[in-house]
Each structure stands twice: as structure tokens, then as C-alpha cells.
């Protein structure tokens, strides 16, 4: 198999040693079918065991390995050396604090995923223990694409509105909320809209669309958020008209 020499320029930061991040160069002999993750693993195994980064599945499904590759938020296990120039810059995901090297702090987005109530809410009596809900394929199709999110957080790294204002709930969490709103088994939509259509919710999105462009799983959070804005606007009037005395 052919070997291609790649210059990896990797952002390093050790809070115990460095004032600020800096770049370290590694020259990596890559096999032609390697992903950038393989190149990083080569560095870790052969050149520098101190490099810190997250990964696990190497099959685009665990969502650990999101990083900036030549400025673009990407999964390193899904970005192939064959599609890149000889010089590749790898940085931790933009818009997140850097914990160490390529590892970022995810507390904020984890809290946001939690905040949007991403679980089935039932107002009716709970379903019978041994009886499934029926759901037509069409009903499943409504939200199926939104279930594909692997929480890689590339979309947050791409979204400037999140970068500018960390209170914004942001693309993946909003898309997740929409996934449950659209699920025929769920009855929690109006509760959720109260959270999502509040100040830091959907309105903070100005439809930059970068989130959807970088999403490795084609979740299209941008679309979900726009649909939620429509839902939010409708719900607003519904609440206004339904409860005339209600000040909100």
C-alpha cells in the first residue's frame, strides 16, 4: 500500500504548562486509506504519547472524535487523508473551552441536551406493559433523520450564534427537542415549546445554516429549528387566544 507523508499541525495545550495553545508539527507516514484519526493514533503510538484526544468507535457513530480539520468541524474518523492536502491542521472544536490538547469541555452542551426534555412525555395513562404503540412508517419518517444525531457537537463548533452567545441552546439540542415534538408517541410538545421558544431558544438562531452543512450525519438541525420557529409562533397565538387573561 502506498505511503504518503503528511505534515500534521496539531494544537497542543497543557493547562499545567502552557499559558496558551500552540501548534506542534508531526510528520506522519499515512497509508492511503487512512482517516485523520489513524494519523493521530500513529502519533500517539509512535511519536508522542502525551497527545490527548477523544475517540472510540472509528466508525462514525460514537461521536467522540469531532475536531477542526483545516478549519472545518469534522469527525476525524470520517475525514480521509486521500481528500486532504499534504499539510493538515488539527484543532479542538471551535466555540468550546479547551481542556487539554484536542479535548474540549462539553459541560455546557451536555446540560443543554438535558434541558430540552429529550424523552417521551405522556399525558394520557401509560401504555399497557406488553403492547407497543403503533406508528406508521410515514409517522416514523417525520422524525427519523433527527434521531441520527451522534452528539459530536460539530454543529456547535460551526454555529457563530453559539460562539457569540453561549446562552443559545444551539443546534443539536434543539434538533433533539424537535425529534421528540414530531414523534407520534409524544405528548410533551407544548411544554417543550415553552422552553425552546423562550429567549435563548430558537429565536437566537439566525439561520446561518452552518450547523447543517458540517453535520456528518445529515441531521439538518437548521431545518429543525426553522420548523420549530413556526411551531413556536403558532403556539404563541394559540396560548394568547386560548388563555386571554394569561400574561406571559
Amino acid at each position: 500500500m502506498n505511503i504518503r507523508q503528511i505534515e500534521l499541525e496539531v494544537m497542543r495545550y497543557d493547562p499545567e504548562k502552557d499559558e496558551a495553545p500552540w501548534f506542534q508539527q508531526y510528520s506522519v507516514p499515512c497509508q492511503e486509506d487512512w482517516a485523520i484519526l489513524d494519523a493521530l493514533n500513529y502519533v500517539k503510538d509512535e511519536l508522542d504519547t502525551t497527545l490527548a484526544y477523544r475517540w472510540s468507535c472509528h466508525m462514525m457513530v460514537c461521536g467522540s472524535c469531532g475536531m477542526m480539520i483545516n478549519g472545518e468541524p469534522s469527525l476525524t474518523c470520517k475525514t480521509f487523508v486521500r481528500d486532504l492536502p499534504d499539510k493538515v491542521r488539527v484543532e479542538p472544536l471551535e466555540n468550546f473551552p479547551i481542556e487539554r490538547d484536542l479535548v474540549v469541555v462539553l459541560d455546557d452542551v451536555m446540560q443543554k441536551l438535558h434541558q430540552v426534555q429529550p424523552y417521551i412525555v405522556r399525558k394520557d395513562a401509560p401504555p399497557q406493559e406488553d403492547k407497543e404503540f403503533t406508528q406508521s412508517r410515514g409517522a416514523l419518517m417525520k422524525f427519523k433523520q433527527l434521531t441520527m444525531c451522534i452528539n459530536c457537537m460539530c454543529c456547535y463548533a460551526a454555529c457563530p450564534q453559539y460562539g457569540l452567545d453561549k446562552n443559545f441552546i444551539g443546534p443539536a439540542a434543539l434538533a433533539l427537542a424537535h425529534r421528540y415534538n414530531l414523534d407520534s408517541r409524544d405528548q410533551g410538545k407544548s411544554d417543550r415549546l415553552d422552553i425552546l421558544a423562550d429567549h435563548d431558544g430558537v429565536w437566537e438562531c439566525s439561520f446561518v445554516g452552518a450547523c447543517s452543512e458540517v453535520c456528518p450525519k445529515h441531521v439538518d438541525p437548521a431545518a429543525a429549528i426553522q420548523q420549530m420557529k413556526i411551531d413556536g409562533a403558532m403556539e404563541f397565538w394559540k396560548q394568547k387566544l386560548g388563555m386571554p387573561g394569561d400574561k406571559s
Binding site: P15, A20, G71, I98, E99, M141, P160, D220, Q226, Q227
Partner: protein, 132 residues
């Protein structure tokens, strides 16, 4: 405590220079200046009409005739098409996907639909205005 998460600064005023995607977005958002300008220009035209006098209207028309204005409108037209009309149509299926049975209608149909409506509507306006 050994943790000291490093926060990369993000310029509040020039962040969009970071990549082409953001620049295109800013250009798109700035179509709002054009919308503002043309609505007020139209309101101004209405004001002249509201005088209910042909002279005032005609002098308004002639005040609008200059190479500067030609350049401005020409530029505005192209800018508006490329940064408002076309993107808006392109993004329409995202905001309002149409599902038929098990499949979502491919976005392209919705986009094409928009272009057709646009053509008809524009033709109607031109017809009203006596251009065609």
C-alpha cells in the same frame, strides 16, 4: 486546581471573516438594508402620489433618472437576487417540508414551485405596470 480551560477569543465584530460560509451569511443578512431602502423609497413615491398632482409625480419620476440611480438599482437588483430571492427559495423546503405518505417530497419540487410562482407574480406585476 490543575484545570484551566482555555477559551479562544471570538471577535464580536469581525468573526464573520473567519470563513466563506459566514461571509455569505452576512451578505445575505445585509439585504435588509435594501429592503429598508426600497420600502422607504416606495413610501416616498406614495407621498408624491398623495399630493394627487401629476406634476409632483412627474418631477419625482425625473428626480429618479440619473446614471447613479441606474447603477444603484442595477447593483441592488443583482445583489437582491443572489442574496435574498435565490437563497430564500433554496431554504424554503427546510422550513416547510412536505411529506407525502412515507417520503418527504424532495426539496427540489418545492424550490421549483417557488420559481414558478415567482415568475407568474413578476409577470403579473410587469403587466400591471404596463411593461408587458
Amino acid at each position: 486546581m490543575s484545570r484551566r480551560p482555555y477559551i479562544r477569543p471570538m471577535s464580536q465584530t469581525t468573526w464573520y471573516m473567519r470563513n466563506g460560509r459566514y461571509k455569505v451569511y452576512m451578505l445575505r443578512e445585509m439585504t435588509s438594508f435594501l429592503v429598508g431602502f426600497y420600502t422607504f423609497l416606495t413610501i416616498y413615491a406614495l407621498a408624491t402620489l398623495a399630493s394627487n398632482s401629476p406634476q409632483v409625480w412627474n418631477s419625482f419620476l425625473s428626480s429618479q433618472q440619473s446614471t447613479g440611480m441606474i447603477a444603484l438599482h442595477g447593483f441592488a437588483l443583482l445583489y437582491f437576487l443572489f442574496y435574498q430571492t435565490f437563497p430564500w427559495f433554496k431554504l424554503a423546503p427546510k422550513a416547510m417540508p412536505v411529506q407525502v405518505g412515507e417520503k418527504t417530497l424532495p426539496g427540489i419540487y418545492i424550490v421549483i414551485g417557488h420559481y414558478i410562482v415567482w415568475a407568474v407574480l413578476s409577470a403579473f406585476i410587469f403587466w400591471l405596470a404596463g411593461v408587458i
